[in-house]
């Protein structure tokens, strides 16, 4: 069964080739859509077969490597293209192909009538292919290939409608197109990628290999905790993760990435690609365990991002923007989990988040379609009766993300909070806890404004429920959001925490290095759990109260705390700050100084000078070629004399 694994990756590539090369000729949405989703479906089935095979086999047999071919063999550097199937990568594969398949199916309905239909599916398939390479790779180089590949697909898909206007919200309104958003994502990600790349060099220099197993084995055997090299390796890797997973300070691209079609936001910018950073840190858990300082940085970054992004989400009015900030915030949670050593907890939250966040985005997509591409929640309201399936599934997802038991988000979030308390500090927990309250609040603000209350859309619009091809994925995801948490019920609630046990072998090396600081009784755990449930329900209640019955309070609050409101509304002015501190100086500097002075006079001068020199040299040398055979023979003989001269003199 293990031999099947390469086909998981192969099928999406096949889909990409068919749709990419022949899509225009096929010219049929039906065929393009079926091929595009079908290949991902097949991948999912194969992944599931492999997964069940692994379930049946013993723990030792759950890890295996598949070498496909030697890619580069030059000197001591030998890069093999190979896949590593283990508990972590198969879980990621299931998420990518499973959630991916549902979103593909949904897209058949969503993209109906779009002239670039086949192109859309080709890109999506390419994305899945790249993402699978990222999660299945057995070495850093192939992972980086996937890493860059998903970045490319993200770029292509954000700018899919490349000429559409796009509102960046507050900051320079009305000037941007989706291409600008795509560029922003691409450029910001480059910063992180440089970190990844340098870290890769460091890893090769330190361990002489890029293969995960070699590196991790040597790291856990040789390296001391707190080693400085490990600090730089992990910190630079984390810089890559920050870029890809939109953490402070590189999160600014993700809200703008919402310019892409909504299924893209669901698949790439919520469920899968943005979690690549989380996956990478978890994959390298051994390296991180060896550098406690980096772990601290990871937790603080995660926590700060979770909290700050949640506050930004409070005041956003664009339905997708709220979800985008919420994604950033939830990714922060995951990093918090990883940073305090709860690797399994982080991955658990990644899993449940994939379910409910994909569902939220897909639901938002239905809403947006239903009221003529409107994204402003102030112009929605009362859609519950018009879009019953969407509103009910959206409600389930909202409850899940708000952390209301027994929905999936409750278990995974609580696991992270518990780890942050037991292995981090009370401050970590406190901020995490407050973020949970904010999450519940802004999610139900969003839900209330969209689905409940008065209808605020114009009356010539007649919204109606989406076709089955879109609603069925919603229902399936709702099921997963509801029940997904049961794979990780903690021991204190009488569960076995199946997911943590499943992943334990992957994180074993890291756990050997990291000794847990404190142990706490179940009583503490119950107390914290009760507090967070209370806060979640409180947040939901207050949001419902504010935005449905006492809208006057919102108004009062926003006027009496005008400064804070404005500060939040402008997203802490981070975009403006980046513009002033980084973008403008770079643009000005390159125009005025680098281009005008350095480039034109020095570089161009040098280049043109060299070129002119070569050209005139070339003209001189050319004259030797006179075209007369006799003179050629003379040169020939001269050559012979020189050669024989060298060979016959005894050295």
């Amino acid at each position: 069964m293990h031999n099947l694994s390469p086909y998981i990756v192969l099928f999406p590539l096949l889909g990409f080739l068919i749709n990419g090369l022949l899509g225009k000729k096929i010219h049929s949405e039906k065929i393009s859509g079926i091929i595009g989703s079908g290949v991902v479906g097949v991948s999912f089935v194969i992944a599931a077969i492999v997964f069940f095979e692994m379930l049946r086999s013993s723990v030792e047999e759950r890890f295996y490597l598949i070498n496909l071919f030697n890619w580069i063999a030059a000197g001591s550097l030998s890069i093999t293209v190979g896949y590593q199937i283990d508990q972590l990568s198969i879980l990621m594969t299931l998420i990518v192909t499973g959630v991916g398949f549902l979103i593909h199916v949904y897209s058949i309905g969503y993209m109906h009538g779009d002239p670039g239909f086949w192109r859309f599916f080709a890109y999506l398939n390419l994305f899945i292919f790249m993402m699978l390479n990222l999660v299945l790779a057995n070495n850093f180089a192939l992972m980086f290939f996937g890493w860059e590949g998903v970045g490319l697909c993200s770029y292509l898909l954000i700018g899919f409608w490349h000429d559409r206007r796009f509102d960046t919200g507050g900051y320079k309104p009305g000037t941007a197109t989706t291409s600008d958003a795509a560029k922003k994502a691409f450029i910001v990600n480059r910063i992180g990628d440089v970190g990844f790349l340098i870290s890769m060099f460091l890893i090769f220099m330190t361990f002489g290999s890029l293969t995960f197993e070699d590196v991790f084995k040597r790291a856990s055997g040789v390296m001391m905790t707190g080693d400085e090299t490990m600090f730089w390796i992990t910190l630079l890797l984390f810089l890559g993760a920050i870029g890809k997973s939109a953490q402070i300070p590189l999160y600014v691209w993700l809200p703008d990435a919402m310019a892409g079609p909504t299924p893209v936001s669901a698949l790439i910018h919520a469920a899968t690609m943005v979690t690549a950073g989380v996956y990478m840190v978890a994959r390298c858990s051994v390296l991180y365990a060896l550098s406690p300082v980096t772990m601290e940085i990871v937790s603080i970054t995660g926590l700060a991002t979770a909290f700050v992004a949640a506050t930004m989400a409070l005041v956003q009015n664009d339905i997708k923007k709220v979800l985008a900030y919420s994604t950033i915030s939830q990714l922060g949670y995951m990093f918090l989990g990883l940073g305090v050593g709860g690797f399994a907890a982080g991955i658990f939250h990644l899993t449940t988040h994939a379910f409910f966040k994909a569902l939220l985005f897909l639901g938002a997509g239905v809403v947006i379609h239903a009221i003529r591409e409107e994204q402003d929640i102030q112009k929605m309201g009362g859609l519950k009766s018009k879009l019953p399936i969407t509103s009910n599934t959206f409600l389930i997802a909202a409850l899940a993300i708000a952390g209301v038991p027994p929905f999936s988000g409750f278990f995974s979030k609580d696991e992270i909070l518990w780890h942050s308390f037991s292995q981090g500090s009370i401050v970590y927990w406190l901020f995490g806890w407050m973020t949970a309250g904010l999450t519940a609040f802004y999610m139900f603000r969003l839900f209330s404004l969209t689905f409940s209350g008065k209808e605020r859309w114009s009356h010539d619009i007649h919204p109606h429920e989406a076709p089955n091809v879109m609603t069925i994925p919603l229902v399936i995801l709702a099921g997963l959001s509801m029940l997904g948490g049961f794979i990780g019920i903690p021991a204190s609630l009488g569960g076995g925490n199946a997911i943590e046990q499943w992943l334990e072998p992957v994180f074993e090396r890291a756990h050997v290095i990291m000794v847990p600081l404190h142990t706490f009784s179940h009583a503490t755990e119950y107390l914290l759990m009760a507090l967070s449930v209370l806060l979640s329900i409180g947040g939901v209640y207050i949001a419902r109260l504010f935005y449905l019955r006492r809208t006057d309070i919102v108004f009062k609050l926003s006027t009496s705390f005008a400064t804070i409101y404005k500060f939040l509304w402008n997203k802490y002015y981070v975009d403006e700050m980046y513009d002033a501190v980084v973008v403008q100086p770079v643009v000005k500097g390159s125009e005025k100084l680098l281009w005008a002075r350095f480039d034109v006079s020095i570089v161009d001068g040098l280049v043109n000078g060299t070129a002119r020199f070569m050209y005139s040299l070339s003209g001189i040398l050319r004259r030797i070629q006179v075209g007369v055979a006799q003179s050629y023979a003379m040169v020939f003989v001269a050559g012979i004399i020189i050669i024989l001269g060298i060979l016959l003199t005894r050295m």
Binding site: M614, F636, A638, G639, I640, I643, L647, M651
Partner: protein, 484 residues
């Protein structure tokens, strides 16, 4: 002497190609309007020959009293020659019609010269190398002058013949001196007893002259003077064939004789390094000043001979294997480049300058894309095969303490980017009207840009091969590494 059938089977690629050549000869003699038939038979025969060559790579041993080797190295090269011949034959069909020289003898000459190349690669004896070299060269002299009515073509044939004969004289003289000092022409005997034989100055002189002969055939400076004139005057597809097949054959023989771990061979290393450096520098720099694309490619081929000579100078396993990989990649890119030139060329030397290619990118995007791939690969830009070929050779040089040679190689590669990319820039960024000239006599020429599918397929396959070899060089490298 009786011919043993088993030995004929052992050297199956040679036997088969001989038979094929004779069949085409008979067709030419007996049939009227034979050109189409000869073409078809040649193509089918060459494909079979390719399969047989590839199939015999695993064989080892010698045949005909240690005159020929069996399988291995020879078969790999013979596959390469057959590929070059096949690509040339297919690409020539259009060209010959267009230039009104569609005579069946063309295919016959290609087949016979390919046979000569094969003999050179299968040789176990210096005499066989000479035999193959002459067979190949004489056919090429005729092919160079195949456009009987064009002055430039006549001139190039005559020049090629004169200088070629001159060089062959030295080569033969070298063989004679080697025989005189060692009493044999068997290559492996000479190699094995090199340390005792090398005390004689006559052997060194013989080797020197042999080296000169090969250097002439591969087009290394200062024995390169014929190349620009001949490449420019010959039918374009023939230039492509000469620059790949004939060059590869010369290198095959060069490697056979000189790629051995000789003792006290520092002098040899010096000579080879100097030839390499001079070829890279002169070839690349003079190529800059060319406006005619055929001449540009001619100088570029001098430069590429220089890169490959680095592999010989390095005198290590990596260098020798690097030459083989280089030759394979170079065959695809250069036949491709000359192929496109031949497709767009019109009577009386039209459409052969940089300026003629302005705006091709928007008019014929696919053709322009293919040309760009060939140019980028020639310049050695990843991910195309040309990059990896150079990389391998340079690493071999550094391992052999010839870092200075590798540095010259890298610097001259940078220079070469200028004239290769100039064509790409022309095609894409120079908005021109359709500068390319229509056929002058419409009656017999194919319509403008109306290209045969076979030609396009051949070009596309070449481009694919370059990408494949560039991304996944291990396919060929493992075969090459297993040869020795």
């Amino acid at each position: 002497m009786s011919i043993v059938p088993a030995e004929l089977v052992a050297i199956a690629p040679i036997t088969l190609l001989t038979a094929l050549s004779l069949i085409v000869l008979v067709i030419e003699a007996l049939m009227k309007q034979s050109e189409g038939v000869s073409y078809a038979v040649s193509v089918v025969g060459l494909v079979i020959c390719l399969l047989i060559s590839l199939g015999t790579i695993d064989l080892t041993g010698t045949a005909f009293n240690q005159m020929l080797t069996v399988g291995g190295y020879g078969s790999l090269f013979s596959s390469l020659f057959v590929i070059a011949a096949l690509l040339t034959v297919i690409l020539s069909r259009d060209y010959l019609q267009k230039e009104h020289i569609n005579f069946g003898e063309f295919y016959l000459l290609i087949l016979f010269s390919t046979l000569g190349m094969m003999l050179m690669a299968y040789a176990a004896d210096l005499i066989i190398i000479f035999l193959g070299l002459e067979l190949m060269s004489i056919c090429l002299y005729v092919l160079a002058g195949f456009m009987r009515k064009r002055l430039l073509s006549n001139e190039s044939a005559l020049k090629y013949f004169l200088l070629g004969a001159f060089a062959t004289g030295f080569l033969l003289y070298g063989i004679a001196l080697i025989y005189g000092s060692s009493g044999t022409t068997n290559i492996s005997y000479i190699v094995q007893n090199f340390s005792t034989l090398s005390s004689s100055s006559w052997l060194w002189m013989g080797l020197g002259l042999l080296l000169v002969g090969f250097a002439f055939k591969v087009g290394a400076v200062p024995f390169h003077m014929w190349i620009p004139d001949v490449y420019q005057g010959s039918p374009t597809t023939v230039s492509g064939f000469m620059s790949t097949g004939a060059k590869a054959a010369a290198f095959a023989a060069f490697v056979l004789v000189f790629a051995h771990p000789f003792e006290n061979a520092e002098k040899l290393k010096t000579v080879l390094s100097l030839l390499a450096a001079a070829s890279m520098i002169l070839g690349n720099i003079v190529a800059i000043a060319q406006s005619n694309l055929k001449r540009m490619l001619a100088y570029s081929s001098v430069a590429h001979a220089g890169y490959m000579l680095i592999g010989l100078a390095a005198a290590n396993e990596m260098g020798w294997n690097g030459i083989l990989f280089y030759l394979i990649s170079y065959t695809f890119m250069n036949i491709g480049a000359f192929g496109i030139l031949s497709l767009l060329e019109r009577e009386e030397e039209k459409n052969l300058t940089y300026d003629d290619y302005a705006g091709l990118g928007s008019k014929r995007p696919f053709l322009a894309a293919l040309m760009s791939i060939f140019m980028l690969s020639l310049a050695g830009i990843p991910p195309f095969a040309g990059f990896f070929a150079k990389y391998y050779i340079f690493v071999a040089a550094i391992n052999a303490n010839l870092t200075w040679l590798a540095i010259i190689g890298v610097l001259t590669s940078v220079v070469s980017v200028y004239y290769y990319l100039r064509l790409v820039v022309m095609m894409y960024f120079q908005e021109g009207e359709m500068v390319l000239v229509e056929a002058t006599s419409k009656a017999s020429s194919p319509k403008f840009f109306e290209l045969r599918r076979a030609s396009m397929a051949v070009l596309t396959i070449s481009a694919f091969a370059l990408i494949e070899l560039g991304i996944y060089p291990s396919t060929i490298l493992t075969i090459i590494n297993n040869l020795r």
